[in-house]
Amino acid sequence: MNKLLDRLPFRIELEPRLVQPPRWYPWVLSLLSVVVALLIGAIVLALAGGNPWASYAHIARASFGDIGVFSDTLVKAIPLMLVGLACTLAFRMKLWNIGAEGQFFIGAFGASAVVLLPVLPEDAPRWLFIITMIVFGMAAGAIWGFIPGFLKARFQVNEIISTLMLNYIAISWNNYFIFAIWSDGGFQMSKVFPRNAWMPRLTDYVDTIPMFRGLTTHFGLILALVAAVVVWLILYRSQWGYEIRLVGDNPRAAQYAGISITRNTVLVMMLSGALAGLAGMSEISGVVHRLQGAISPGYGFTGIIVAWLAKLNPIAVVPVSILFGALILAGREIQPSGIPKLLQGIILVSLIASDFLMRYRIRVHRKDLLKEAK
């Protein structure tokens, strides 16, 4: 191998970057790594006996082809945005919250409890229903985030494992209520919520704007966009955000500066859990309209990739979520069914590998062959 390299008329060297790369550079790098990932994915698909270009064309058509499917893409993107924000916030402090999936389920549980417990009577006004469900969903998610946060702060329990274990516990918890308490006539789902507990959808306004016929994009989109701005403001325009970023970059310096790492660990995990819980609430109130088992095709895990592809930038989480929403939406129809997961995996691997080029630059030197020959 080395001998082969010696024969080349140039030399490839890696140099550490001494100056910050330009602002556009990380984004171009991310874009390139996604392209590379899609190419690798195409090779794998071809090897598995599929037609990659047909699959990709199908994904594009089935998710951006017309306004109807684009609206469906947005519906899939809403929980991804909220979960991606949850991961972004925690990851910025280097808190590895892998438990967004569980917080999502518990958020859905909390929101459902408003209708099924019931907290509010069936004929309560819609605005009251939605606000109460948001509060309950976020509070439930925050509790689910508090547990690993507290265990980490107090007992130094590795949050990766604890959040992951809580995912399994959350799903069992929900199943208990779906099967035993709130089962609708023996089916593994609750009864359908009253209309007042549904978040408004575009299609509800078809009488005033006929164009909205059949569009299922719901109010959760606004919640997600507001959340993105709020998380951005917290991270980049508030003192708390400064503390979070400092702890993430250099915990020792943060400690010397008098920042309480334990307090921030608990608070960040709670807010992160609350955001994921809000995602669960929005899915329940905006799409499913009942509590059931299959409410997430792994949103919580895709959120990790979303956050990473968005370079932990809350605003960038929005467009990245739309892309992954498309992948999830179109992926349902592609066989074999593991392909969206496979593509997500390849994208994440290639993204993380590309981070190397943020820190190093590849230099190609021409060799002076005559000189070396002497």
Binding site: Q156, I161, Y176, P336, G338, L342
Partner: protein, 322 residues
């Protein structure tokens, strides 16, 4: 609900956890945290099962499972050791990738017919010992006995041999190891590969011996993650890992068995009369993992024991390290 049967089954299911935990101990002792265990187990389970289906030879299946998982682990090795990326994210991404690949390639596998499985074996004299005999040496899969052998071997290798010393030094103080002529990068690659071999073995053990079959993601059902938790509980010690794994195995089995009988200890069995309480029983292994982590971390703090010092830190030659 015979305690002997539960313990016997616990040793059997615990063997899966044991293999995965031992592998992760090697990788972490060399300073590389690999969170892709679950994914590597899954791809091991898938390749073992499919090879056994196509060739009819379960041993070949196990071998291929180990090699495939080992090769996959090298993705993580390359990204985290050579490209110096964050080991947490890199390991997670390996897990996603391996899971995706196993789901795509394993499509339709579950419909495959019956296949030859790893045989069971009863050890002649040892199985006659009261209590211990029936639990450890009667009707166990051959792989369970492999587990008994590997635990002391791994312990001896890590703590009492020269290569084991090199392994520990690379995880504790890579710069010092490097200055003594130990190739830090090569050893880290090697032990991540060893971790992959073990994870593949664990996966193959599931699909060809313990709970035979391919049930997509449910095949492993989070056991890879429990193994990562057990490494902390075991304090990177293979013997403690064996205890933890077998206890966990027994717990998983107890959760299944406790719903069967109508009476427990002469009282009406509440889990029999309220079958939905089974969902709370299902939570137990996961809740127990968290409890074990709390205990493990407290003990580690008290005894000033800790993870290998360089765990999670990429080694960059020529840069000031720890």
């Amino acid at each position: 609900m015979d305690p002997i049967i539960i313990l016997q089954a616990g040793v059997s299911t615990g063997t899966v956890l044991l293999f995965a935990t031992l592998g992760e101990i090697f990788a972490e002792r060399a300073g590389v945290l690999n969170l892709g265990v679950e994914g590597m187990m899954l791809i091991g389970a898938m390749s073992a099962y499919s090879i056994a289906v196509y060739t009819g030879n379960p041993w070949l299946g196990l071998l291929v499972a180990m090699i495939v998982a080992g090769l996959f682990s090298q993705i993580h090795a390359f990204i985290s050791i050579t490209l110096q990326a964050d080991q947490v994210v890199s390991g997670l991404s390996l897990g996603f990738l391996a899971t995706g690949v196993s789901l795509v390639l394993g499509e339709g596998l579950s419909k495959a017919g019956t296949i030859p499985l790893i045989p069971t074996y009863t050890v002649p004299l040892l199985s006659q010992i009261p209590i211990i005999g029936p639990i450890f040496f009667t009707d166990q899969k051959v792989l369970v006995y492999l587990g008994y052998l590997l635990v002391p071997l791994c312990y001896y290798f890590i703590n009492h041999t020269r290569p084991g010393l090199h392994l520990r030094s690379v995880g504790e103080y890579p710069a010092a190891a490097d200055s003594l002529g130990i190739n830090v990068y090569r050893l880290r690659y090697l032990y991540v590969f060893v971790g992959g071999l073990f994870a593949g073995l664990a996966g193959g053990t599931i699909s060809l011996a313990i709970s035979p079959g391919w049930f997509s993601e449910l095949t492993t059902s989070g056991q890879g993650w429990i193994a990562i938790g057990l490494v902390i509980f075991a304090q990177w010690n293979p013997i403690r890992a064996a205890f933890g794994s077998y206890i966990f195995g027994a717990l998983r089995r107890l959760v299944l068995d406790i719903q069967g009988p109508t009476m427990i200890f002469g009282l009406a069995n509440p889990f029999y009369y309220n079958p939905y309480w089974g969902f709370f029983l299902q939570m137990l292994p996961y809740a127990f993992t968290i409890i074990v982590l709390v205990i493990g971390s407290r003990e580690a703090i008290r005894k000033r024991l800790g993870s290998p010092s360089a765990l999670g830190v990429p080694y960059i030659r020529g840069e000031r390290g720890l």
